[in-house]
């Protein structure tokens, strides 16, 4: 049984029945097709770890998480096709995902910020309007991601769930209460920016002709507010803070040497902080268990490979 056309035959019906996203699925199925040609076996016959490793290496992925996703789609598709043609689904063997042949460490480096790079970008996000800081909202999104919040957590953070207290050293601390956890913010600048963001009334957008357009924020209970444009959404929150920030990166021409700003996501910023904490010079203060706690992870498994990445990124004196 060597039918290399299985993908073409079942692609449409698979997408339709499983309601997978078309573009993404097509991209993955194309890679299954290419891997078939290289390996010389149909995807239903991939019985070696090496077969799966080769398939995954075609994505040039920079995190095990995306590799798990590509693996899962392959598995779902194989199960689907097997059922259609009436045979048992294949049992795929998962290779070691941290293998450097599978993970693209170069891509990861282009999406990993050091603390200095974080400060560099943060400074560029500060814009002045008539001598007053403006568009603090975007800066806060970026800072909150560095503080360890996910896109979803930033989106749903309500002002009423932020409390400011003073700790035993007399330093101001912001306590953010989220759905499943509580985060302490001890970054003085971020605390200040959160307060300014709460008071901010307008957002400035530079039009294509270079004119600054002043827009009001909607009155919503969330810290990160959408601007008044179009029909208001029932939920009230800004749909995708990460996307809004990426638009700002592009609109303001924000640059950072060694970093691919066009594709820098909030997840990358958050992971960068994680890598920073895992750097060898910070080992004394942050062991795997502490970092796991800060980032609300179930296990330390996913941190082990990032520790290796941190070693590379923060070589002595860098």
């Amino acid at each position: 049984m060597t039918n290399f056309n299985l993908i073409e035959e079942y692609k449409g019906i698979f997408v339709e029945q499983t309601k997978e996203k078309l573009g993404k699925t097509n991209f993955i199925l194309d890679n299954i097709q290419s891997a078939q040609e290289i390996i010389g076996k149909t995807f239903l016959e991939w019985d070696q770890k090496e077969d799966i490793a080769l398939y995954l290496s075609l994505f040039g992925a920079s995190s095990p998480r995306s590799l798990y996703f590509y693996f899962a789609v392959l598995k779902r598709f194989a199960e689907f096709v097997s059922e259609e043609i009436g045979q048992l689904p294949p049992k795929y063997k998962m290779p070691n995902l941290q293998d450097e042949n599978i993970l693209n460490y170069n891509n990861l480096a282009k999406k990993t910020l050091t603390y200095q790079q974080y400060i560099h970008i943060k400074n560029q996000l500060t814009i002045l309007k008539n001598g007053v800081e403006a568009n603090i909202r975007d800066k806060v999104i970026f800072e909150l991601a560095w503080a360890g919040l996910t896109n979803e957590e930033i989106k749903l953070l309500k002002e009423e769930n932020i409390t400011f207290i003073y700790n035993e050293l007399g330093l101001e601390v912001a306590i953010l209460e989220m759905k499943n956890r509580v985060q302490r913010i001890e970054d003085l600048e971020l605390i200040d920016d959160i307060k300014k963001c709460m008071k901010e009334k307008f957002y400035y957008v530079e039009t294509k002709s270079g004119v600054m357009k002043k827009m009001s924020y909607r009155e919503v209970p969330y810290l990160i507010k959408p601007v008044k444009i179009g029909i208001p959404k029932k939920e009230g929150y800004l749909n995708n803070p990460g996307l809004a920030l990426q638009k700002t990166f592009r609109g303001q021409g924000i640059i950072c040497e060694g970093i691919d700003m066009d594709y820098l996501s909030l997840e990358d910023v958050r992971r960068s902080k994680l890598i920073y904490l895992l750097a060898p010079q910070n080992e004394k203060y942050f062991d795997l268990e502490t970092v796991r706690g800060i980032f609300n992870l179930k296990t330390t498994d996913s941190l082990k490979w990032l520790k290796d990445v941190a070693k590379e990124k923060y070589i002595e004196g860098k």
Binding site: Y115, Q124, T126, L169, G170, G253, L277, N282
Partner: protein, 186 residues
């Protein structure tokens, strides 16, 4: 010099022992220039206990410069103590300047794009001109017989008709001979 700086820092902490928030806030602000807040907090705790082991030379010097700027300790004025703030362009966080730079960067990018487009257009035109060399060839010369000219002359004067066979009227003139321009596809 390291010992000297360490002593300066420790004496700042000791002297202001009664005002903990002042010491903590000042040191935290200084630390955050080079260190993330989570690590800064850990370092601050150690510093307040008199342990400066976690600070590297760079951070230590920076804190001293910061305290000098804030007027908490006297500037010891040693040239060799590099002005960390200036050397590391910390002053450049001057926001107005940063915005100005960003603005000029954008203008440069736009200008560059325009120049690039102009260049591409000129290259295309040049290529087209190169291919369009015109040489006179008597075979291409179109000559109108006298009878046709006479015929058109009468038609033009009486009926306003401007073309007859290969003859035509242009600016009140009927040319006897002419060349046709042959256009090539771009």
């Amino acid at each position: 010099m390291i010992n000297n700086e360490k002593e300066q820092l420790l004496s700042f902490i000791r002297e202001n022992n009664s005002n903990k928030p002042l010491v903590s806030n000042t040191l935290m602000q200084a630390l955050q220039y080079t260190t993330d807040s989570m690590k800064a907090k850990a370092l601050l705790n150690e510093m307040l206990e008199g342990n400066l082991g976690g600070l590297n030379q760079e951070t230590l010097s920076f804190i001293i410069r910061f305290l000098e700027k804030k007027g908490f300790i006297k500037n010891i004025g040693k040239e060799e103590q590099n002005n960390y703030l200036e050397d590391n362009n910390i002053e450049n966080t001057d926001l107005e300047e940063l915005q100005e730079l960003r603005h000029s960067y954008k203008i440069l990018i736009a200008e560059n794009r325009k120049l690039q487009e102009n260049l591409e257009r000129l290259v295309k035109e040049n290529q087209f001109l190169k291919e369009t060399v015109f040489t006179l060839d008597k075979n291409d010369l179109i000559e109108i017989p006298d009878e046709d000219i006479c015929e058109l002359y009468v038609k033009y004067v009486t009926e306003g008709i401007k073309e007859y066979k290969k003859a035509f009227v242009i600016n009140e003139i009927i040319p006897k001979t002419y060349y046709k321009i042959k256009r090539r596809e771009k």
